[in-house]
Symmetry: C2
């Protein structure tokens, strides 16, 4: 049986599947749907220095570490990418990702363009990146105006942040427009299914072909 | 509306989708299924010097041309690839393919590794190539032993030809194992759907993003 569970008997190396988008484009919903409907795919769990919140579980939601441990991890190459958000640090531990890939499992990353660029530098061959766009300007604004009492100024700031994230679409392998959640979901699934069939991921092909002829 | 008919409003450039396999791997069946189930995809029609057979239609099954016309087409760069089989010549006319791609239509090619290599030299950016493998040695032999009265020698020759074709799998972008026709069909469809979402094919993305932000 293949490590990737393809049923074809060809051993497979896993891939790192990145979804990025501005907030309001539906990325988090799409990530959850993809995880639920796909075998052999797991969400990457980040390390963070922010305090654990009620209901969170260490190792499931995050790996909770203190600042000095985080510094050590970053310094010793134990993190694939990291960032600082409001004094808290977030990063992707390398070891669980490497273990998953070697076992033919794929790993899903819900990260922004900066995290994606860092991953690309460290793991180009294993990376597949997808950028999710909202369907229209008005729909993006509607989704960013979450509460009726949001001031125009707050919404303008959110739009500006979204525009900044969107400007990085040319750095991705694939771009999808999320105008219909079910269709967007199918498109993302097709990209993952196709990338699993790339020559470079099916590391057992030489052996398979040898048995064939 | 997009030329590619994606419904997302993003204009798309078509792609050249190549399926290759040894005979007996199910490629012709898979090609027909894909054409039937996919909008915006059409089969490439070859030019040939062989005589028209009863039931064939010029321009649908082949473009039937005489030898001197074929020579001129090859010499003047009107063919994307060509080959000689039993004194008859076969080739892919460039103009209909180029017209389809520009209109955001994809074109399917049912050709061998030599044709694929020629296409690659002439149109690398637009080409997506898939190699279809049979599931096992025994199944390949069973499919090549078409008639009960086939001699072992005939089957051996067919196996040897199949092994030669199979040896070219490393030159393709994707490899799928056809152990179940429905699953193989889904995999090929996923590859086509995913490739349509590649950044490089969605030529209208810059315009789309400009309207977004």
């Amino acid at each position: 049986m293949s490590a990737g569970g393809h049923g074809s008997g060809v051993e497979r190396r896993g891939l790192m599947f990145v979804l990025s988008s501005p907030s309001g484009a539906g990325k988090t919903t799409l990530s959850r749907l993809l995880i639920d409907k796909t075998s052999g795919l797991k969400m990457s769990v980040s390390a963070t220095t922010r305090p654990m919140r009620p209901g969170e579980i260490d190792g499931r939601d995050y790996f909770f570490v203190d600042k000095s441990r985080f510094e050590t991890m970053a310094k010793e190459g134990e993190l694939l990418e990291w960032a600082t958000v409001f004094d808290n640090r977030y990063g992707t531990p390398r070891v669980p990702v490497e273990a998953a890939l070697s076992a033919g499992q794929d790993v899903l990353f819900d990260i922004d363009w900066q995290g994606t660029q860092q991953l690309k530098e460290r793991a180009r061959e294993d990376l597949v990146s997808v950028f999710v766009l909202p369907p229209t300007h008005d729909e993006l604004e509607r989704r960013l105006r979450i509460r009726a009492q949001d001031s125009d100024d707050v919404v303008r700031k959110r739009m500006s942040k979204a525009a900044d994230e969107i400007s990085h679409w040319p750095e991705y392998d694939y771009v999808i427009v999320n105008d219909d959640l079910a269709i967007a979901q199918e498109k993302i699934k097709a990209i993952l299914d196709a990338e699993r069939l790339r020559l470079t991921r099916q590391v057992g092909l030489s052996d398979f072909v040898r048995r064939l002829t």
